[in-house]
């Protein structure tokens, strides 16, 4: 018994679409993974190097990386929904609000 229907790998052009059709949570979790890797990884490395970290700056960088990935995913129908793209843009804008309002030490 399989957990979900395996995508047809003989037509790799649509393999991402088939994965998302089988598991709709794939795209948002992929975006969350991208955000968290950059956000937490950046904070961790900056803390190791300087002893402090600029959370808002890393939030902006991680959000923009997530936005770039999501606009690329929006080129093909069936991988990402408009709702998720809107949420990614809103998160990016809010990260910018946090960054510009922040008085924290920054390397920018």
């Amino acid at each position: 018994m399989t957990l979900y229907t395996l995508p047809n790998a003989t037509t790799p052009d649509s393999i991402l679409v088939q994965i998302v059709a089988a598991e709709p949570a794939f795209t948002p979790l992929l975006l969350l993974f991208t955000f968290m890797v950059i956000f937490l990884g950046g904070i961790g490395r900056q803390k190791a190097r300087l002893g402090t970290a600029d959370y808002s700056m890393w939030a902006v960088i991680a959000s923009i990386a997530m936005l770039l990935l999501s606009v690329v995913l929006s080129l093909v129908t069936g991988i990402i929904q408009l709702d998720w793209l809107v949420i990614v843009v809103v998160v990016t804008i809010f990260s910018g609000v946090w960054f510009f309002m922040s008085q924290k030490q920054s390397e920018v």
Binding site: T92, Q103, S106, E107, V108
Partner: protein
């Protein structure tokens, strides 16, 4: 170790409250950042013939338009304020202006930009529930309160921190 600061006159590592200049710059940069992000997403979709575009969402399209209008108005009003200050004169024994016209561009445009951004953003993520409306209304009120306080302290000749 060399530390840099993303704020004006705060390069010694201490936490300071924002001055009015820093606050206004932050508000304007938030507006420009929003325009850039939405513009990038929309133009990327148009240039690459995407399956759908951010422009398909009416609320974010409206937000982009409002933000552009507000920042354009900020440009016009700042130029007018600049001219009015150059044309004004300070009489003897007076250290403050009689009206607060010089501060109008901050209150009417920059705060409006951030209010629109936050309202649309929170609605997109959390929906329009009444419970969350209390939070966003209070938060927007806090921004207006800080702005008014900074304007008043500047106008009254105090240090706006």
């Amino acid at each position: 170790m060399v530390n840099y600061s993303n704020s004006i006159s705060n390069n010694k590592g201490e936490q300071k409250n924002m001055s009015q200049l820093q606050w206004t710059i932050s508000l304007v940069l938030i507006g420009l950042f929003t325009i850039a992000i939405i513009g990038f997403a929309v133009n990327f979709a148009a240039d690459n013939d995407a399956a759908f575009s951010l422009a398909d969402d009416p609320e974010l399209s409206a937000l982009s338009k409002y933000t552009r209008d507000n920042t354009s108005e900020f440009n016009v009003q700042s130029a007018n304020t600049y001219t009015s200050i150059l044309n004004s004169s300070i009489t003897g024994e007076s250290s403050t202006t009689k009206t607060g016209g010089q501060f109008s561009l901050t209150a009417t445009n920059s705060v409006g930009v951030v209010e629109n951004i936050l309202r649309v953003g929170f609605t997109k993520i959390f929906g329009g529930s009444s419970g969350f409306g209390i939070f966003i209304t209070t938060f927007l009120g806090l921004i207006v309160f800080i702005t008014v306080l900074l304007i008043w302290k500047t106008w009254a000749g105090k240090i706006p921190d």
